[in-house]
Structure formats: structure tokens, C-alpha cells
């Protein structure tokens, strides 16, 4: 769905292949091409063990990417997600190990601590009118520092079978973290497509001023979006801690860049007003497949970095081309 889909009532009949559908189709084509390439290069790529590996390690980037998609749709950005994920893990471990609280409650409070950062981000962006890039760059640094201060730089081990199930367990052979991610995608797909709130986000990303004039409570929506982004990043932090059975203040370093790459690759525009969660999940899967295939092929890690960088440039390049094409289409219309 695009901003034009969201705000134009009584618009002419949709063309058969909308911009978003073309994006999704091209992403599916890229994914299939990647699978075929890696499948011919390494016999292990199509093994069930490898499918397990890929599916069980999607959730951290995948869940964080939901929040990032929402933020980017509104025309903002959230660079603090990696730091927030680290903070939630650190807070959870400290409350459990040193505070003596039950682990479940500690995890909830850990997620809550992350949500608080989202509230601060949203508050600064909406009420102080400071650019989201600057705001979240600042909280990126502050929150990471806070994680180090709280943990005193220490890694804490969290061995608890029930807790480790979040990141490592499976139900009917499907990783629990994947099920959680799918549930969240379905929920947010519904919100984006079928609720006023979701449609308003596209409108805000398309033109905040027009949205204000149309009576949309822009500030409240933006605040909510940053809180959602932080809460989802915190949840990813908890999954990370559960998967590694330990929390560290250096956790999730670079998560923000991986997530932004995936979301932009999935067709969400950095300029706001455009993006879909279907595209985002495809972006997440493509990036994960690329990483997995390169490791299986034993390609040097330096070339892996090059490949990821190229994907980011391609993603942003495609985003610019799409923008130009849609402008041309609008002019013609």
C-alpha cells in the first residue's frame, strides 16, 4: 500500500501491477535467483538443517524491521534500535541476576526500559521538532553508553531453560522465535492495511503538513510509532539474549544498519509515505539468505562485507529509481 492508496478516496481503478506489487515480484525473483545460485554452489544450501538455521535466525532482524518500516513510512528513521536491544537485554539480566526479580517480570521490565527510550525519541522528534536522524543518533550513543554503565561492561550468563526457549525452542518443528515474528507481521499487516492509524502513517509520510490540515494527530502518531519501534527492538534484544544465553552491552552492534538495509531493500522509501511489511520480510529473508549462502560457500568475510554494502547501495539506488518512476507516472496521470 502506498500513501496514494491510503489517502485517495474514489481514485481510479488500480492498475494490474502497482508499484508495490512490482517490488514484491522483483524481490521474489531476487530470492529465487539467490536460492538457485547458492543451491548450485553448495550441496548443503537446500538441506533441512540449513532451512532450520535460516528460519531460526530471522526473528531478531525481522521483528526489529517491523518497527523500522513503520518509522520509515512516516518519513523518520530510528538509529537507536541496536542500542535499545542491548539495553533491554542488560536490564533484564541485571533485574534477574542482581535484583532478584522473576525472569519473566525482568524481561517485561527490560522491554519496558526500551519502550521508554522510544517515548524519549518520539517526544524529542515530535515536540522539540529535532530531526529524527539526529535524535536517534544521539540516543543510539546515550543508550549504548547506559548499557555499558549499568552492566559495568560485563557479560552476564542467563541459563534458564524456559527463557532460552524463546530464542532456541520450537513448536512442531517451527522455531518459536519465527512463530512470534510471523504473528507480529500478521498483526502489523492488519494495522497498516485496515486501521485508520495505519493509513494515517502513510499520509504523514507523504506530507505531514497536509496530514495536519486533514486533522490527523501527527504528533501522537509519530510518538506511537517510535515507541512501537523501540518496543519491538527490545523484544528482539530479549530474543537475542535468550538465543545466546547471555547478555552483553555490546550486543546487537550494527543491528540498525542491517535492519535499514532490509527495510529499504523491501521497497520502503527513505523519503516516507511508501512501504509494505511484505516487502520488508522479503528484504529480511534475502539478506539472511545472502549471509547464509556466503558463509556456506566459505567466501572470505571481507567479501561478505562487500556484498552487504553492495546490497545496501542497490537497495537505495532502486529506491531512488522507484521514486523517479512514480513521479513520472504521477505527472502523466
Amino acid at each position: 500500500m502506498t500513501s496514494s492508496d491510503a489517502v485517495s478516496v474514489g481514485a481510479p481503478r488500480r492498475p494490474r501491477f502497482t508499484d508495490d506489487r512490482l517490488t514484491t515480484l522483483s524481490l521474489i525473483a531476487v530470492f529465487v535467483a539467490l536460492c538457485l545460485f547458492f543451491g548450485t554452489q553448495t550441496p548443503f544450501f537446500f538441506s533441512s538443517a540449513n532451512l532450520d538455521t535460516i528460519t531460526s535466525t530471522l526473528a531478531i532482524v525481522g521483528i526489529t524491521a517491523i518497527g523500522m518500516t513503520l518509522v520509515l513510512i512516516t518519513g523518520g528513521v530510528d538509529l537507536s534500535v541496536g542500542s535499545v536491544a542491548a539495553l533491554s537485554g542488560v536490564v533484564t539480566s541485571l533485574l534477574w541476576l542482581k535484583g532478584g526479580l522473576p525472569l519473566g517480570l525482568s524481561a517485561v521490565l527490560g522491554v519496558g526500559a526500551g519502550g521508554l527510550v522510544g517515548l524519549i525519541n518520539g517526544g524529542i522528534v515530535t515536540y522539540l521538532k529535532i530531526n529524527p536522524l539526529i535524535t536517534t543518533l544521539a540516543t543510539f550513543s546515550i543508550v549504548r553508553g547506559l548499557a555499558f554503565v549499568l552492566s559495568e561492561g560485563q557479560t552476564n550468563l542467563l541459563s534458564n531453560e524456559a527463557f532460552n526457549f524463546i530464542g532456541r525452542g520450537s513448536i512442531g518443528g517451527v522455531p518459536f522465535s519465527l512463530l512470534l515474528m510471523i504473528a507480529l507481521y500478521l498483526a502489523f499487516l492488519f494495522i497498516l492495511r485496515y486501521t485508520q492509524f495505519g493509513r494515517n502513517l502513510y499520509a504523514i509520510g507523504g506530507s505531514p503538513q497536509a496530514s495536519r490540515l486533514a486533522g490527523i494527530p501527527v504528533s501522537r502518531h509519530l510518538l506511537t510509532v517510535y515507541v512501537i519501534s523501540a518496543l519491538l527492538a527490545s523484544l528482539s534484544g530479549i530474543i537475542n539474549v535468550s538465543q545466546l544465553a547471555s547478555s552483553a552491552p555490546r550486543a546487537a552492534v550494527g543491528l540498525e544498519f542491517t535492519v535499514i538495509t532490509a527495510v529499504v531493500l523491501g521497497g520502503t522509501s527513505l523519503s516516507g509515505g511508501k512501504g509494505t511489511l511484505i516487502g520488508t520480510i522479503m528484504g529480511v529473508i534475502i539478506l539472511r539468505t545472502l549471509d547464509n549462502g556466503l558463509v556456506l560457500m566459505q567466501v572470505s568475510s571481507f567479501f561478505q562485507d562487500v556484498a552487504r554494502g553492495l546490497v545496501l547501495i542497490l537497495a537505495v539506488g532502486f529506491d531512488q529509481i522507484r521514486l523517479k518512476l512514480s513521479r513520472i507516472q504521477r505527472r502523466r496521470a
Binding site: E152, T155, L244, A251, Q298
Partner: protein
Amino acid sequence: MTKRTFSTVALACLVFSMILAALVPAVRVSAQDACPTAKDSYTIGFANLTEDIVFTQLVREGLVSTAEAMGNVELVLADNRLDGATALANTENFITQGVDAIIHFQTDEAFGNVIMARARAAGVPVFAIDIPMPGATFFGADNYYAGELAGAALAEWVNANWDGAADAMLVLELPQSGPIPAARMQGMVEAFQANATTPIADEMVFRLDSKNTQEEAFRVVSDTLPAIPEDARIVAVTINDGTALGTIAALEAAGRGENSMVVGQNADPSGQEEMIKENSRYLGATGYFPENYGAQLLPRVIDVLECRPVPPSIYVEHVFISAENVCEYYPDNWPEFCAQ
């Protein structure tokens, strides 16, 4: 003794004392001439690698406590933040502040020459911790030997528990950091292959870039495991404890924990905690004892400033720390475990 003889001896003693008293400053002056950097007290700059990891925090704490104990050393602290340019800026700040010597713990080899050129021009001696710089006195790990200790211990365990044969080896390294950590990895791999009854075939040795994080170790090990048969017995050698924890997490998450064993480096508190767990897959790690760096290093810095000979490289003692001897070295860290 007659009164006259006593007076003569006393007078002679007095004259001798006066001559001696007059000579001593001259002797002292001539000693300072011979060693112009010798002073009653010293200011020494210490720029840490980063303040974000336990290992380097322990190095800093050890230096601070040793300086306090010595009484005549004042430390000026800085943080290199894992960045060569910051290390260079810290060097210039130290020189501006007039420090007598600099202890650098900095990671960027490329900046080593520039830092040393600045320090040489200012006449300030430099000690380099763990990562050598040209012209600096090296202090720190004997990386190859430290690697050998862990590799040999792992081979010994495999010989005792798996009839001397493992099927695959994961090597969690850090290629971007150059030859120093590479020597550590080389030591582990070569010592394992030399000491295991049956060395692992080259095609089953998987070299993986850990990027020095738990998550990356988890990811690359997870991605590699599908290429290793399900019932294979896997050993892993890792660059440090954090990487070892990520590796173990990936092995356990894939249900391969029972058929694996891991060794690492550093033996920091998180690594120690992992190795003393019941049925732990972390055999142990080579200890570097960063908490003792200060006590060993600061006296050598004073030696240089007072013109006493110091070898160009000073290596710390290494011991392979495992659940069996952790209480010998770190009894206070694990009182419950050590009481058993």
C-alpha cells in the same frame, strides 16, 4: 685511647663526613647527567584500548592500583576507543601534559609509526601493550604460546574422551585485526593438530570471522553447521571468551552441544562462569591475567626512566584455566564452586 688520639679520630671523622656530604650532590648530579629522565616522581600516560570490555578494564585497574602502591607514580588516563586516530590524539595530549612515559594499548597498526614518531620527537619512551609498535617496548601476551596452551589442552581432552579423533574444527578468528590475534589462532590450530591422535582433515577445518562479537560467532557457526554431518564430533577454537560463548550457544541451539568441545582465550569472568557449569562445553581458556599487567609493567617503565636495562619484549605468564584449576587462580570469583 688518649684524649688527644680520640680528638684526632673525631676530627678526621668530621672532615670525612663533610667531604662525603659535599661529594654526594655531585655524585647525584652526575647520576642525573647519566640518566636525565630519572626523577623522584613520575607522571605516566596510559591510554587504554577501550573501556568497554572487561579485559581492558582489568588492565586499567591493575595499573591504577600499582601506581597508588608505588607512591611516586601519577597516572594520566585516556581511552583509545579502539581507534588509531584517537590514540594519536591521546599521544599528543600526553606530550602536551609533559608525561615522562606513555603506555599505549591501541589496536591500529597503521597508526603505530605516527604515534612513535611523535613520542620520539618529544623524547618520551613508549610501552605498547599486546599490540606492538615500532620502537616501543612490547608488553603483553605471547600469543602463539597462549594459543598452543589451549590447542594442546583441547587435543588432550579429545584423546581422552573421543579416542583421539574429532571430525571437524571451527576456527573463530578475527582476520581484520592483523597478525597478533592470528598468531593466537595459529597456535591453537597447530597445537591441536600436533597433539591429537588423529589430526582433522584440512577440508573439515572451517575458518570463520567472529568479528569479535557473540552474535556474529553465533551466526557464522549456525550457518556453517549444515555443512558438517549431524553426528560429527566438533571442536572449536575461539579468539576470546565472548566468541566462545556465541559458538557454544550456536552448537547448543542446533542440538550439537553433546558432540562438541570449545576452547578460547582470556578466561575472563564470563568465560570462567561458562566453564564451571555442569556438562559445560567450554573446556577452558588460556589466562592472560590482565589484572596483573600493572604490577609487572609499571616497575619496568620506571626501569626505563631510570636508565636500567629492560628487554625489548616482556611477556606475561600464561596458564590454561579450566574448571579444574579456576579455584587456584580465581577463588574469590566462585566461592560456592570452589567450596565443593
